[in-house]
Symmetry: C2
Subunit: 300 residues, 2 copies
């Protein structure tokens, strides 16, 4: 009564019977004698007060209950198998998973080489990717919802003990739609040129940290969009203007859907330093592996 009558041995036994077709064959593969199986099965039948096999005929016929125990039980078996392995990995210093938070500035595409390599080298660690915008990305790190952040350095909050390593730069360019009035202006643009048009801005996904809003900040009319893909789309449709990461709009620029504009007041260098960031002190093997393979995140 106190104990669960479904045992691992029972599931193994059912599994072997199913695989090999008869008690006798199953027993052989389990390195047991047929009567040992009978023993295991009958114990469960007694405890659970159900029939596992219909013994009226020559060969025992599966009951629905037994089939059900087998099919569900197999899942349990693999879960236990995996649990053993993941516990070993954990003891060896690996983590059970690893979460990379990508700023929306970056394309998912760019993390694929890292994911692929991780899957080859350390297949026992599932690597997940999350996306965030501006401070929101870093927030994931501080809240332990991510283990590695890839984002522009300037969005990094001062708080928290975060270590970073530069991994490249991203050029932000002012781009407008093909049919936008500014597209026709044939000279470096001034602040006054820009003033009349709404600015497309990324919404900061941060909930705790004071949100940042990057780009042409002091303007009035804003179109807040949730991520970079939407921002590119919005600007392509002429809904507003704003800075876009050059590497994500190559196609649009070549195709003429987006027109690059230069600014007269070149006060701001529009090269952003991209960094990988992590919590100071993280030192498991997964993390080390990641730091050693950061170059796979290369920004071209």
């Amino acid at each position: 009564m106190a104990h669960n009558p479904i045992t691992v041995e029972l599931i193994r036994t059912l599994d072997a019977i199913d695989r090999h077709g008869s008690f006798a064959a199953a027993a052989e593969h389990l390195h047991k004698v047929p009567s040992a199986l009978t023993y295991t099965l009958q114990k469960c039948e007694r405890d659970l007060e159900i029939k596992l096999f219909d013994r009226s005929g020559h060969r025992a016929e599966w009951t629905e209950a037994a089939r059900h125990i087998l099919s569900e039980g197999r899942r349990i078996l693999v879960a236990m198998e995996n649990l053993g392995h993941s516990a070993q990995r954990l003891a060896q210093g690996w983590t059970t998973q690893y979460v990379v938070a990508l700023d929306h500035l970056l394309d998912f595409e760019q993390i694929v080489p890292l994911l692929t390599r991780a899957h080859e080298d350390i297949p026992w660690v599932p690597v997940h990717v999350r996306q965030g915008t501006l401070s929101g990305t870093w927030e994931l790190l501080l809240e332990h919802e991510a283990d590695l952040v890839v984002a522009p350095l300037h969005s990094k909050p001062d708080a928290g003990n975060i270590e970073t390593r530069p991994i490249g730069t991203i050029r932000m360019v002012l781009a407008v739609a093909r049919d936008h009035p500014l597209a026709a202006v044939d000279r470096p643009l001034t602040e006054d040129d820009l003033l009349p048009y709404p600015v497309v801005t990324n919404q900061d996904t941060a909930r705790q940290i004071t949100p940042l809003t990057a780009g042409l900040r002091q303007r009035r009319q804003q179109l807040l969009v949730p991520d970079m893909s939407t921002k590119i789309l919005a600007q392509k449709r002429g809904l507003g203007i704003g800075f876009l990461p050059m590497h994500r709009i190559q196609q649009e620029v070549l195709g003429g859907d987006l027109i690059l504009k230069s600014l007269a007041s070149n006060d701001q260098e529009r090269e952003m330093t991209l960094v990988a960031g992590w919590r100071q002190g993280d030192s498991d093997k997964t993390h080390h592996w990641m730091l050693e393979h950061l170059e796979l995140l290369s920004i071209n």
Copy 2:
């Protein structure tokens, strides 16, 4: 080597230690002696070649691996527990789940009393609801994707051994939007009156059975919509005309958003018989319970 070193006993042991704070207390609750726990833990530590507890201090400290085995292991424990129960229910003649297919003509609302009652009376059987339209609903039954169908009798296919029981009628009414030209016509409508306007029709979800299309069939311009809610919406917006189930448009009629129209040629009785249908021969306890509680599906 051949056997998984993670055992149910191990998980139970870890669970008890976690619950009661010390090996000694845990042992007492497990009706064992402390050294028995030591034995279980050390066996796993030896097999898996990991440490479950850090014994350097006075009291043993959990390792990360042990915590992981416990938290994942608890899931496994409840899964095994459930498996035992569901096997017993199955042997007693209950099913592991039950799927009701509702024709889109009906509101999900109307099956709630049945679901509620099932949850009270036979909580061990999860009841699922699927929606389908016209022959598609019946198809789910024949393909064993549903165990009970609630749909208009006329849409029932001849093929297949299906038993039915009437559970009510639904009045289908011709309704047009408030600002539809027909709304202003102050007399029973003729076929010719209707001819100029597109008809909103439900798309049959059937993939195998020859699809039916209900309603004003012989007309040309059709707007095919996926379900009844969409159809009501479409007609409310004046996108077309068609018959709607009276009980689903009470609000709209009272509010004047939809106007009821009568037909001059009253050849077709627009009362539909609603039936519950099931595969002949189904005779498990779940099914019997359902048949005994069909009145909860009352159509008002």
